[in-house]
């Protein structure tokens, strides 16, 4: 669609009134973009077909800036929820989509986001089946907030359950960490590094599906370490399952540029958000095969085993440091505050 054709420059309160302007916005942008039989039902909701057990996940996306290196908020909103559904051991099928737009958002920006959502959801193989758009007064939002809810069919071979984790299980990370958080931060804070750091936002549903196809219940737990980073995700697993987790610092996949950026800012990459990385806890018997398979997929080129489940230090994550000695990895608590006296 040619953005120029849309007759308003900016989204205004009238677009959220529920009247003619709303209709125009929906017809002119949303339905036109997502054109599919479910949405075309134009009911208050959609009636869909789904087989067996259903995995459902919802997430709201509030990111600033809304356009960043490597993606925009629309791409995050699709990938984030698709990934969450995939982490349940399911194949994502449908998404709901709700916008809260702040009055004054450029129509072109809105259109670009909607189009990104379309492209991304096609890539993920999911359909947008229902949605909502609200407009709030200036200052009551931050350009645009998006909520998506994803529905997926649980993979027949999947048996994802933290109860099944046991000593010796391996912890696999699918790729370079801390990319998304550093991309957002460097853009927001106006920080310039040697080369631009790009968000890693991507959909992980197909690589997960192929892992489940091949290894079934040998895949015991899947998590995407978004907010709070790898440290918080692993800590949650350790605490929730009362297992010990031992990881090795020099195995953590970290891109040189991101490492340097973290170093200069005094940030620990373990706490920086990811949007295209997952952690798998797997039976140790299949470690090599899992990694081999992952490396064949563009989403898992840098997959690596970073550690294992232990009987020691139950409930805690401990990291073997690169220079000797071990340190405790705690979940992120509030903001980062210096501790050295």
């Amino acid at each position: 669609m040619d953005k120029k054709q849309y007759k308003f420059d900016k989204i205004n309160l009238g677009h959220g009134s529920g009247g003619i302007m709303t209709r125009e916005l929906l017809d002119g942008i949303i339905f036109k973009t997502f054109d599919n039989p479910y949405l075309n039902q134009k009911h208050d909701g959609s009636i869909v077909k789904i087989k067996g057990e259903v995995a459902i996940s919802t997430d709201s996306f509030v990111v600033s800036p809304i356009f960043f290196k490597g993606g925009n908020i629309g791409e995050l909103a699709v990938n984030g929820t698709v990934n969450d559904v995939a982490m349940c051991g399911a194949i994502p099928k449908y998404l709901s989509l709700a916008f809260i737009v702040e009055e004054g958002l450029g129509a072109n920006e809105f259109i670009e986001i909607v189009e990104t959502i379309k492209v991304t959801s096609d890539k993920c193989g999911v359909k947008i089946i229902t949605g909502d758009t609200k407009v709030v007064e200036r200052g009551k939002g931050d350009k645009i907030f998006i909520n998506t809810t994803g529905f997926g069919e649980v993979h027949p071979k999947a048996e994802i359950s933290s109860d099944r984790i046991k000593e010796g299980d391996k912890i696999i990370v699918s790729g370079y960490i801390a990319q998304h958080g550093m991309a957002i931060m460097s853009q927001r804070e106006g920080l310039e590094f040697e080369s631009t750091i790009e968000s890693d936002t991507t959909n992980l549903n197909f690589i997960i599906e192929s892992l489940l196809n091949n290894f079934g219940n040998k895949i015991k737990l899947l998590r995407d370490p978004t907010r709070g980073g790898l440290a918080s995700t692993l800590s949650e697993i350790a605490t929730d399952t009362n297992n010990g987790i031992l990881i090795h610092e020099n195995k953590i996949p970290l891109e040189r540029q991101v490492a340097a950026a973290c170093e200069i800012l005094g940030l620990d990459p373990l706490y920086v958000a990811n949007e295209g990385v997952f952690v798998a806890i797997i039976d140790k018997d299949v470690e090599t095969e899992v990694i081999d398979l992952m490396k064949k997929d563009s989403k898992g080129l840098n997959a690596i085993c970073i550690g294992q489940i232990t009987n020691d230090h139950r409930g805690k994550v401990v990291m073997q440091s690169g220079i000797g000695g071990k340190r405790i990895v705690t979940p992120l608590i509030g903001e980062h505050l210096p501790r050295i006296c």
Binding site: G325, H336, L337, R339
Partner: protein, 753 residues
């Protein structure tokens, strides 16, 4: 005929008290019994009234040198006739209410024995008596009886038994008694576990040779491992630095004797007293006045001071007998990890550092680093830098009403645990940086060990307000698991409370000014405090002033890079900054500073900024490096020649910027570094007096890591003269090691509640 029950409490177990009582009773012809119980030493004495009286008096007056009596009482009781005087076994220890016993350095008599070819203990490296030897290091539980310690694994031979049961022997009831026949075995192996020697008579001579041949030797002392090498040999010291991943941090030295030390450096009597005290700490001595020393420059690069110690155990004494030169004796650990004490663990972790291992088979229950003390040059103020072997776990606190069992978890970087399960306070040895998992484990062990020894769990757990101190998280978990009350106490208030406790000032009728200056602490306003002034009066602690806030940049990195503190305090276009930051860094930090929300009042970081501005240290290679090196440039001062950089309190502002500007203008006018540093320290000292004056307070209590600066202490004392009363931490370090005691004292004295 009268029968009395006498109870004596304090540090009275493991110090030869019962044998002393026995001998006194024999001498005065008193019948009865003596035993250890949960309160201390309990005596039943039967004799004529006059004799009982003089017996009681003599008990208190002539008590063994290592004992510390703090409570005693006598009551008349009815009892059948005693036939003689006996030492009887300990009663059960539930409800323990007495001092524990710290480790004691080797005594002169034992030293003579191991050096005497005619003595049965000639060359025996674990010779002890009631007056010396390990105590806390080997304690599993209490009262202090052999079967409550790890030395119980060694059964005394007949000769040792005879000594043990002979009232006239120095080893009568000596719980750590052992000899070469029955005792602990030494072995020297190489780092491939190949046996070199097990012969006590030859082993130290071999070590001497190996040291000369540039070997690094891990020596298991009775409190933990030491890593040793020839301190004269630059090659081997550098090798140790490289292997230990410790580029610059000074190493402590073991001197074979105080005489040898004096041939290298001039030390005053106060320093000598500290070196030879029963705790045998490392003492930091000035090395600017020196005779010709052979010490390698890599031992303490860029410093005019050196940590030295004398042999604290028979094992180190025997080594000292063989060497006539100082050796590096640094904690046996890998960087940041706790001091090691287990043979297998040491072989695994130190195998790539040490060429040889001197091992023994005594299990160490409470590994401890060496304690560290410094004495200020001018006023001989004694400052504890690290409280560990020799001091832990006792703390002599003023009496305090305590009805609740309290455990305080301390801070994060220099962690300690304080416990008050009864009338006494126990403070663990320095445990270290809780980021390190080994330290964290040991922290947990000491906490459980306290609970086990006293067979009680705390009703109240106290922690720092910092949400992500590992000690805070640990305390939270502990409180939840045992259902204890849980309370957070602000960091700097705890520092202040530690001094109020050390000097019994909680009930002082006077107002006390608390000056708490350190690097970092989480403030009540969620900013990073560190340049604080409090007023304490009538149970209320009020923050009355603080350094003006400036930007805290880049998380923990700012504490590691003094140049960042400078960046925060000066205009980044200043020409000096271009030398310290490349254009890319400048751009990034400028952006950070522009949008930064986290502020600090830290004086520790101000020291960093000054050190960076003076090109003394831009990036720390060890904790506190900038401040240490800054102090080190001052060899002496004359107050009359010092200038203050700002009448900073003139407009109610304490401005770190103003101080930095003052330093800069001195640099610009070509003033020498040492004088600039003196001016800086003088500014701070004078500031303290100004604030006191401004608030009409005459009593000043100073705590926080900044007060490890002994030049600042000297200046402050000089300026205060007789007009102001000054209080410093006395038996605790001013740094975060005192936080756990402060937390307990703040809580128990009901401050601010």
């Amino acid at each position: 005929m009268q029968t009395v029950k006498i109870v004596i409490s304090g540090q009275v177990q493991g110090v030869g008290f019962r044998p002393f009582v026995f001998n006194l009773a024999e001498m005065l012809d008193v019948n009865g019994t003596v035993s250890n119980n949960e309160e201390g030493v309990i005596i039943f004495a039967q004799a004529s009234k006059e004799i009982v009286d003089s017996f009681y008096k003599a008990l208190l007056k002539e008590a063994p040198i290592l004992s510390k009596i703090d409570k005693h009482y006598i009551t008349e009781v009815n009892h059948k006739k005693f036939k003689d005087f006996k030492i009887i076994p300990s009663e059960n220890a539930s409800g323990l209410n007495l001092q524990l016993t710290p480790d004691f350095g080797i005594c002169d008599k034992c030293k003579n024995e191991i050096n005497d070819p005619k003595n049965a203990r000639y060359n025996y490296p674990f010779t002890t008596c009631v007056h010396c030897g390990p105590r806390w290091a080997i304690t599993k539980t209490f009262p202090f009886e052999r079967h409550h310690t790890s030395i119980d694994e060694f059964k005394m031979c007949q000769a040792c038994e005879n000594e043990y049961s002979d009232p006239r022997n120095r080893r009568f009831h000596s719980q750590t008694n052992s000899c070469g026949e029955c005792g602990i075995q030494l072995k020297l192996i190489d780092n491939e576990s190949e046996l070199v020697s097990t012969n006590n008579a030859l082993i130290f001579n071999t070590i001497h040779r190996l040291l000369i041949e540039e070997s690094i030797i891990a020596i298991k002392n009775t409190s933990g491992f030491l890593l040793c090498c020839d301190a004269r040999n630059d090659n081997v010291v550098r090798k140790l630095r490289q292997k230990k991943n410790r580029p610059e941090k000074p190493f402590a030295l073991l001197y074979p004797s105080v005489e040898k030390l004096k041939t290298h450096f001039s030390i005053n009597l106060d320093i000598e007293k500290e070196l030879t005290a029963v705790e045998r700490p490392i003492v930091i001595i000035p090395t600017s006045i020196k005779n010709k020393t052979p010490i390698a420059s890599s031992v303490a690069p860029g410093l005019n001071q050196l940590g030295v110690m004398l042999p604290n155990s028979p094992l180190l004494q025997l080594l000292a007998n063989e060497i006539d030169f100082p050796i590096v004796a640094t904690s046996g650990n890998i960087s940041g990890s706790p001091v090691l004490s287990d043979n297998l663990e040491a072989l695994e972790l130190l195998g790539s550092i040490a060429d040889y291992f001197l091992l023994h088979n005594l299990k160490i229950e409470h590994p401890q680093d060496d304690s560290v003390i410094k004495v200020s040059n001018n006023s001989n103020e004694r400052v504890l830098f690290r409280r560990s072997r020799g001091f832990a776990p006792n703390y002599y606190a003023p009496k305090i009403e305590n009805k609740k069992n309290v455990m305080a978890m301390g801070a994060h970087l220099k962690s300690t645990i304080s416990y008050m399960p009864n009338d006494y306070i126990y403070i663990s040895q320095y445990l270290g940086h809780l980021d390190n998992y080994g330290v964290y484990e040991r922290f947990g062990k000491e906490s459980s060990s306290f609970m086990n020894i006293f067979q009680q769990k705390p009703a109240v757990v106290l922690v720092d307000k910092h949400p992500s101190y590992q000690s805070t998280l640990f305390g939270k978990e502990l409180a939840e698991s045992i259902g204890a009350e849980f309370q957070e106490i602000q960091h700097h208030k705890a520092h202040f409370a530690s001094i109020l406790a050390e000097h019994s000032l909680f009930t002082s009728p006077k107002e006390i000014l608390g000056v708490v200056w350190d690097g970092t602490g989480f403030g009540n306003d969620h900013q990073i405090w560190g340049g604080e002034f409090f007023k304490y009066h009538n149970g209320k602690m009020q923050r009355i002033a603080h350094f003006d806030y400036y930007d805290w940049l880049a998380g923990d990195k700012m504490a590691k890079e003094p140049r960042l503190s400078l960046f925060s305090l000066v205009d980044e276009v200043a020409s000096i900054m271009t030398k310290k930051f490349n254009p890319k860094e400048t751009k990034i930090y400028k952006e950070l500073k522009k949008k930064n929300k986290l502020k600090t009042s830290s004086v520790g970081r101000l020291f960093d900024a000054v050190a960076s501005l003076l090109d003394i240290c831009d990036i720390n290679t060890y904790e506190g490096e900038a401040a240490i090196k800054l102090e080190n440039h001052v060899l002496g001062y004359d107050l009359k020649k010092c200038n203050s950089y700002a009448s900073v309190f003139g407009n109610d502002h304490l401005s770190a910027n103003a101080i930095i500007n003052g330093v800069q203008s001195d640099i610009d006018s070509g003033i020498e570094k040492p004088q600039i540093i003196c001016n800086f320290l003088f500014t701070l000292a004078k500031l303290i007096i100004d604030v006191a004056n401004h608030n009409g307070i005459k009593s000043i209590a100073c705590s926080g890591g900044v007060f490890q600066n002994t030049v600042l202490l000297d200046m402050l004392k000089e300026i205060a003269g007789n007009e102001y009363e000054l209080f410093f931490n006395r038996n605790l370090s001013p740094n975060d090691e005192n936080i756990s005691l402060g937390q307990i004292m703040y809580y128990l004295n009901g401050v601010d509640s």
